[in-house]
Amino acid sequence: MQLWLIPILPLAGFVINGLLGRRLSRGLVSAIAIGSVLLSFAWVLKTIFGLGDLNSRYVEHYYTWIASGSVNIAADFAVDKLAVVMLLVVTGIGSLIHVYSIGYMAHEGGYYRFFAFLNLFMFFMLVLVLASNYLVLFIGWEGVGLCSYLLIGFYFHRQSATNAGNKAFIVNRIGDFGFSLAMFYIFKNFGSLDFTKVFQQAPGASEAVLTTIGLLLMVGACGKSAQLPLYVWLPDAMEGPTPVSALIHAATMVTAGVYMVARSWPIYVHAPSAMNVVATVGIATAFFAATIGLVQNDIKKVFAYSTVSQLGYMFVGVGCGAFSAGIWHLMTHAFFKALLFLGAGSVIHALSGEQDLRNMGGLRNKIPWTFLTMMCAAVAIAGVPPFSGFYSKDAILLAAHEHAPWMYWVGVATAGMTAFYVFRAMFLAFFGEYRGKEHAHESPPVMLAPLAVLALLSLVGGFLFNIPQFLSGVFPAREAAEDNSLMLISVGAGVIGILLAWFIYVAKPAMADSLASTFGWIYKTLYNKYYVDEIYDAAIVKPLVGGSRTVLWKDVDAGLIDGSVNGVGTRAKDIGGVLRLLQSGNIRSYATWVLFGSVVAIVALALAGIGSTGGLR
């Protein structure tokens, strides 16, 4: 089926735009970039229809990448139903966001660079999804991290952007370190990195081994998917252009961790404690991030914390064994969160760069299309039936209730907060009086069209694509516990959140400030994100930098290492002083010594031959 074409097409786009983009016109650059992604999308569709029901994995072998002793790692691509879902999400939403970017980036410098990086990201993401062993997956994993770094720091002339890029890169390294350890451990225990082989052997391995692997993989997933305690990079990543936030930091890359955990389900199902940790981390992140999201004033920051929170939901899903529910939420989240970000981008575009909610307001008449589409996303994320978020969130909460009731209740509270902060942002931006100075203008059709498509998907994506049914053959079967009362409670929490937001921010706008002053220290703590960045700075960064400066540099480097190196140097100089007598600088003398060496070598070989074989033949 030529699976390699799927990632190669965006790579070709990257190569063309990256090498020649500077000389090409903007139209041509975007045509190449979007064309390559659309072709890739088309090829995904063709592949899916060509492969039929796909009840078993379809593997394509290209070549043996590393063959050394028992290490045998192939460069293979594989497709199964899980990969199909991811492929469609990545290429489909990727195409939409590419289209959107034409309008969004129209007035920015570095046009070709942006599209080249975006294409490169698509390449690595598709490699990640199509990988058939952990190492190839890791290539994609690292590659998307690189692209994320490049695109966060896209406005490299801004110090905050480059800092945010560095932060994302460094925090991700911690996760990647866990992932690498997991790979080493997998290889040590199973002798292979191939999914098929590893998963075949997984049931036979001891629980301790599987738990270790599961926890290490989770560390990797935490880094990439911005879970506690490694979530800190994602809110800062909003320094990048908004389409990047939508594509990489909401819809696709950050869900790679969820995908990887779901992909490794045969390891997790035999390691219940690891799963428990995953679910706990997920629910904690969901709740924690949601509380921060309640009070943020930057529209993109609100959505960024919302993303962290929703990713926590997905972790709860996969951690409770409801893998398909996690993937379902991954997909619906890709729809509505991409839409929210693109809508936010449209708002920012409309206000020529204004991101602060306090300077917005009353925009619903000025940019009606953006408002309408964003409203679709808002009701979807708030879990209002029958829109997409309702289905997936409900599935996850049901699974959580089955796993541990307290998780369900925390989840419900989070759902209420989710509804509250999303609608708070909506109300602040679109209702009331306009508080800004910029003249607002509606975005061009090339930006609105993707919004409309995503709005449609957000509304109907939930019942149109029944992922648990589609993936029923992939993951272990679970008895679906239908519990209408639980469902009603979670929906009710969402509705209460919406109403509360409406009450505070539309009905009685003065109440927000009085509430903030009443709960002053809580507000301040939340507003400052629980001071996590400051804590990390004080607890990790400062000691590291200080320790490096005093201990490592002054003592170890200057004293120990330099000292020993200098000592070796002095000795070498002394010895060299003797040996230099041989170094006449005369080539013929050297040649004579080489000749001498070869005679010695021949004699030595002859002696060795006599010794080992008992004489020459």
């Binding site: 006449s584 003398s589 001498f596």
Partner: protein, 166 residues
């Protein structure tokens, strides 16, 4: 017949090789070296290496040695000057050389039995088709790497030869 051919061209090769070493003028050495290469090409034919024989003449005699002759002509290199001060080479050179040659010859005679004989047509795998096939399958990577090496050498030669112009 094969023995006569071998002896004839082996003697030519050795005489030419001695001439390479003893001639004081580089161009005489170069012409003698072409003689060595030509006779080696005939010996290659005897060993069934048709393609290599042609390549030997085209590449070595026809290209590399022409380059040597060209450089000798360009520099108008005269006979070698006698002054030299490598005492190591003067003292150790000859005994080591004799030891080296003696040991090599001795071990070849010991290690390779007289029973293996070379006769013309005894090996048919040296044609252009076989070489080409091996070159583009088994030896594809070395082949490509060598191509890059050549490219690098070309660039290096150009850079080196141009340097003194600035």
């Amino acid at each position: 017949m094969d023995v006569i051919l071998f002896l004839a061209f082996a003697i030519i090769a050795v005489v030419c090789a001695i001439n390479v070493v003893v001639q004081t003028h580089p161009i005489s050495s170069a012409v003698s070296l072409v003689g060595v290469m030509g006779s080696l090409a005939v010996l290659y034919l005897l060993l069934g290496a048709e393609f290599l024989a042609a390549a030997q003449v085209i590449v070595y005699a026809g290209a590399i040695m022409v380059l040597f002759v060209f450089v000798i002509m360009l520099l108008n290199a005269g006979a070698e000057s006698k002054k030299g001060r490598s005492f190591t080479a003067q003292l150790l050179g000859l005994p080591l050389w004799v030891a080296f040659l003696g040991l090599m010859a001795y071990f070849i005679q010991r290690l390779y039995p007289q029973s293996t004989r070379v006769h013309f047509g005894g090996f048919k795998g040296g044609g252009a088709a076989e070489i080409g096939h091996a070159l583009f399958t088994t030896f594809l990577l070395p082949f490509e790497v060598t191509s890059i090496l050549i490219l690098v050498a070309i660039l290096g030669a150009i850079v080196l030869a141009r340097k003194e112009m600035d």
